[in-house]
Amino acid sequence: MNDLQNTKILYRFLSCVCVSFFTVLSYSNNNTHTLDTNPNECTTHIHYDGEYFDFCDTCGCGSSGGSMGYGTGLNNNFIGLRYIGQEYRSRDGIFADSPWIKENFNTIQAWANVPITKRAILNVIVPYQFHNRVLPDNTEQNINGIGDISILGYYNLLKATPDSIVSIKPEHYFQLGGGIKMPTGKYDKDNNEGSVNPSFQLGNGSWDYVLAINYGFTYRNWGISTMANYTIKTKNPKDYQFGNQLNLGINAFKTYYVSDMAITPIIGLAEEIYGTNKEIGFDVADTKGDVFLGKLSVEASYNRYALGLTGMLPISQNLNSDKVELRNRVSVYLNINL
């Protein structure tokens, strides 16, 4: 357990503190001499898809699946489709032998990273959700519909190396972003009653605000990407307020070239921390929590197309006082680079 704690602390340190540290470092590096003069033509072909963070778009603690893929990369503007499947189970009742309810959260997202200026990027995610769960009396409950649409703007604080110049020194990016998550997904109060997962919703029902920060670098065909984002959730018209949410992620990846294809395996860690939900201004018991995840992913790109496959498993978690458990997450995406 100590090891795990240490890993988590180290990890948070990496994600939060190093972002600023490395950035400043890299900023000054931009002005220094090139360390290696051997051009490596592969570098320019590296895709920055390691920054597609597989955070998903659902509601409060547990199934909130920690926000969404706010991660963007340098030189990496795309439109695409992504499927995210999340399996949870939540306890229906207060006893040690109360039954578990299996819940499947499915999301299909249309997402795009569109360049506005050389340094500014617009990130749009339009999710469609189809969730289901089987209640203890064996009735199945399905909800489906559009989820909460989010629009974020990013600004890259570092100058990108022009494509025409082949660079062999580490190439950094550092983006600050912010945006909104709109209440386009339906929030149904009835789904929040009883002791089962309060996050079984299509949307938060509220206007939420997102702050995001991405930092990463690539060196030759290696790369590291880190991200952090914070969602400030407001009260919805039913006087319910999901807890604020902090997402952290770090990924390492390496790209291999096989004839015309680029294959990028990615290994990562992610953490999601949720605040307490409120109803009419009062804390709702057992709604805060956190989950720490490991991630394995592979992306294959050919020409302008990128196909990705990601699996995430919880390493440790404490969601809704252990009344909700994340089992796994998978995602598949197909992007077309612009």
Binding site: V24, F95, S98, L176, A228, I232, G275, A285
Partner: protein, 266 residues
């Protein structure tokens, strides 16, 4: 640029790490009155209580199958955060929790708006009520009869009706047990008061109905914090000057607040 970047990063890091939000809107809209309901969720030593299903052995190595669990809850009052007690109208303050009929919730309407820190109730029927005579009981007498919570009017109410079968080290064949605890007229007063401090305040007001969810541990009726009673020794405990008061004390200790639902009325 470097400095501004550092500053920005620092601000961001700060923001990211400050994960709480404290915009308390409590109280300001608390006017009028609302309903507080109390759910009595019956369990057995941490597990759900399922009638007719054997539970894990207790500390006395007795394996108990509960077939009936009913008890009388009465005289509910709430203490607000200023220490003032609101006593629910006595005539409307007698209830029966019955696992067989799945009667597990009581509703207390028109509680004055406020934040309450403590709930108090009685287990059983107090002497004052009993001494009002049969007429003074109103509909509750009929309700108690329907729920097997009466011996006869003279003998009085059963405060607790706990029945089933058990096996133990020495009694290996499933054997019936019956625990009927009450006050036995006025000669023995087994009425007990329960005071539960809430883990967070329960809030009511106009448009705000709230719920207190109690977790009951029926295993404590026999093996409680105060008294341990072996069914192997005696299987039928009714009018028993020694064991019946012990059961009464144990029963007053089976209630724990699991959580509060403010504002969604269940």
């Amino acid at each position: 640029m470097k400095n501004s970047l550092l500053a920005l990063s620092a601000v961001f890091a700060l923001f990211m790490t400050s994960c709480s939000n404290d915009d308390d809107t409590s109280e300001e809209n608390l006017t009028g009155s609302g309903e507080i309901s109390i759910k009595f969720d019956n369990g057995y030593n941490g597990n759900d209580l399922v009638l007719g299903t054997a539970n894990a052995a207790n500390a006395n190595d007795e394996v108990i199958t509960v077939n009936r669990l009913s008890y009388i809850v009465s005289n509910v009052s709430f203490i607000n955060k200023d220490g003032e007690e609101y006593v629910y109208a006595k005539d409307d303050s007698y209830f029966i929790i019955n696992q067989e009929t799945e009667e597990d919730q009581i509703a207390l309407a028109d509680i004055p708006a406020g934040e309450y820190t403590t709930v108090k109730f009685g287990v059983g029927v107090d002497q004052e009520k009993y001494l009002q005579g049969a007429e003074g009981q109103g509909d509750f007498l009929t309700l108690a009869e329907e729920n097997n919570m009466m011996w006869s009017w003279q003998a009085g109410y059963k405060f607790l009706n706990f029945e089933g079968t058990f096996t133990s080290e020495t009694i290996t064949e499933a054997t019936e047990f019956k625990i009927h605890m009450g006050s036995h007229g006025s000669s023995l007063d087994n009425y007990k008061e329960v005071t539960l401090t809430l883990p967070e305040n329960v809030v009511v007001g106009d448009g705000i109905d709230s719920n207190i969810h109690l977790k009951i541990d029926a295993s404590k009726i026999l093996v409680g914090g105060t008294n341990s009673i072996e069914l192997t020794e005696k299987q039928v405990i009714m009018v028993d000057a020694e064991k019946s008061p012990q059961i009464a004390v144990n029963t007053s200790e089976i209630f724990v607040v699991d959580h509060i639902h403010n504002g969604n009325g269940h």
